[in-house]
Symmetry: C2
Subunit: 331 residues, 2 copies
Amino acid sequence: MKKLINNVDDILNESLTGFGQVHGDLLTVNLEPKVVTRADAPLAGKVALISGGGSGHEPLHAGFVGHGMLTACCPGEVFTSPTPDQMLAAAQAVNGEAGILFIVKNYSGDVMNFEMAAEMAADMGLQVETVLTNDDVAVEDSTFTQGRRGVAGTVVVEKIVGAAAEAGASLANCKALGDRVNQASGSMGVALTSCTVPAAGQPTFNLGEGEMELGVGIHGEPGRERIALPSANEIAATIVNAICDDLAPAAGQEALLFVNGMGGTPAMELFLMYNAAAQVCAERKVTVARSLVGNYCTSLDMQGCSLTLTLLDEETKALWDAPVHTAALRW
Amino acid sequence: MKKLINNVDDILNESLTGFGQVHGDLLTVNLEPKVVTRADAPLAGKVALISGGGSGHEPLHAGFVGHGMLTACCPGEVFTSPTPDQMLAAAQAVNGEAGILFIVKNYSGDVMNFEMAAEMAADMGLQVETVLTNDDVAVEDSTFTQGRRGVAGTVVVEKIVGAAAEAGASLANCKALGDRVNQASGSMGVALTSCTVPAAGQPTFNLGEGEMELGVGIHGEPGRERIALPSANEIAATIVNAICDDLAPAAGQEALLFVNGMGGTPAMELFLMYNAAAQVCAERKVTVARSLVGNYCTSLDMQGCSLTLTLLDEETKALWDAPVHTAALRW
C-alpha cells in the first residue's frame, strides 16, 4: 500500500485538521466527536441538514457543508458509519429550532446509527426527519446494504434540499423534496481498479488486466458483472440505458447529467465520459438541462466513474441553480 | 492500460467537446485548431492572457479560462506542446488591443513554439510579451527542459496576473508581475505511481512496491532520487525545506501554501499533506496566509502530490483574493 500518510490510525484526524485549516472561513471542524459544522450555524428558523457516513468518499460530505447545502456532517472512520453520538452532537450544535433533516445513504450501519440518533434527538425534544438515498440502480441488496445503495445521487439531494432549507422551507417540505429528488435520481458506477482501505493495507478486490467491474459500489462492493473493459461509449450506453429503464423519463424530459470520478480518474476521462453519456441521453430523448463533472463521491483511490441522472422539474432546476458556497461546490 | 476512452486518437477531441458542453457559459472550445477562449473575449482594452501546453495536466490550463484568469489557452496532445498556429489563432481570437501575454511553462517544445508564435504575432502587429514559469526546485535541467521546470506554480501566476489583467493592468505591468510571482514561487512533487500516457499504453516509469520518486516532473521526468516511501510528515519536511532554502523567505513572511494532487491521489491524503506542510512552514517561520488544496496541475493518473509556496506581498495577496470565475477555480 502506498499512501501519503503518517500512521493509519491518525489519517482521519490529520486530514480533517488540514481541511478545517483550509476552509475555516466556511466551517468548523470538531474532532471529539468528529463533527463538521457551518461557520454560521445554528441558523435560526431554518431547517438544519445533517449528513454523514464513512470517510473515504471526499469531498462527500464535509466538502458540502456551507451556504445552500449541508449545515453539518459527521465523518466516520474510512468506510465505517459514524456513531449516534456524533450525529446527536451535530444536531445539538446546528439546531435552528425549525427541525433537523438527516440525509442518509442506504447502508445498514448508517441507517441503524442515524435511526438511533433520531430517537435520542426526539427524546431531547428535537424534531427529526430522515431522507434515505438509494439511487444506485446497479443491484438490489449488496455487501453492506439491504435494498439499493445510496451513491452519488446523494450529492444532488444535498444540493437541492440545501437550497430549499436555505430559502426557509419547512421540515416537512424538505423531507418530501429530498424523497422526491432521490426517487428522480439513478446512478451506476464502474471500477477499473480497486480502492485500498488504509487499515486493510491491500486492495479490496482484484481486477485482472483489462477487466472492469460494472455496477461497483463506492466501497468496492460487487456490481452486476465483471467484464472485459468496454469502450467509453459502450460503458455510457450501458449505464445511461440502465438508469433510463429505471427512471422511465418521458420524451423530452429535462435532467441533470452528473459524471462523478471515483478518486483516481483523470479529469480528461471524466469529460470524455460526459461527452459519451450526453450522446446516449439524446438517443433516449432525455434533455440534458444541467451538468456536473468531477470528483464528488469518491471511493479513495479507485479508478472509474459513476453516472447519475436526476430528472428535473422547474422547482428542482431552480433549486439546483440557487447559490451554493461550500468547499467542493460553489456557484 | 485501463482508461475510460474510445480510441486513443480521439481522446483529446472527445474530452474537450465534453468540457465545452459542461462549461459553455464560461468558454468556447474550438477544435480546429484547438483553442479554448473566454466566452466574453475579446475584452477591449484589457491585456489578453494566453497559456497552453500538453494535455494531461487538467484542469491546467482550460479549467482556468474565464473571468479573472486566462483569456484563452491552447491544449496540445497529451504531454506534447501545442503548435504555433494554435497560439496565433488564440492571440487573434482574444486580442483586446492592449497586448498579449503568453504564460509558458519552461519545457523546450513549449518555449520554442510560443517563441515562434510570438514572432508571427509581432509580424501581424500584435504586442506580445512572455512569462516563463520555472518554479520546480527539484532539479536543474530535465528530460524536456533546460533549466528548471514549470509546474504547479504556473496556476498561481495565472491567477494573480489574471486578476491584474482583469483590473486593467498594462502589458508591461502584467509581464513584470508574472515574472515576480514566478520568482516568488517554489514547488516540488513526489510520485507514488507513474502516469500512463494513452498513446504509449504503459506506465512512463516503474516504481517498486514501497518506492517513491522525490522531485518528479509532471510528465514523470526523474526527480532528485528514488527512495523508500517516507511518512507524510517527512515528505512535507523535505519539500518545504527545499523550497524555503530556494526562496529564502524572511521570518514571518506571508505565503500561499498550495497542495496539488497529481491526478490519482485521494482528497483525504491531500488535506493530510496540507496539515503536515503547514507545520513545517510554521517551523520555518513562514506564515501561511492563503491556501489551496486539490487537483490543479496533474499528471494524468499519477498518484502523488506537489507542494508550492508563493511568497506574498499586499499586492499579490489582494490579486489572489480577487474574484475568479473559471471551471476549476472560483471565488
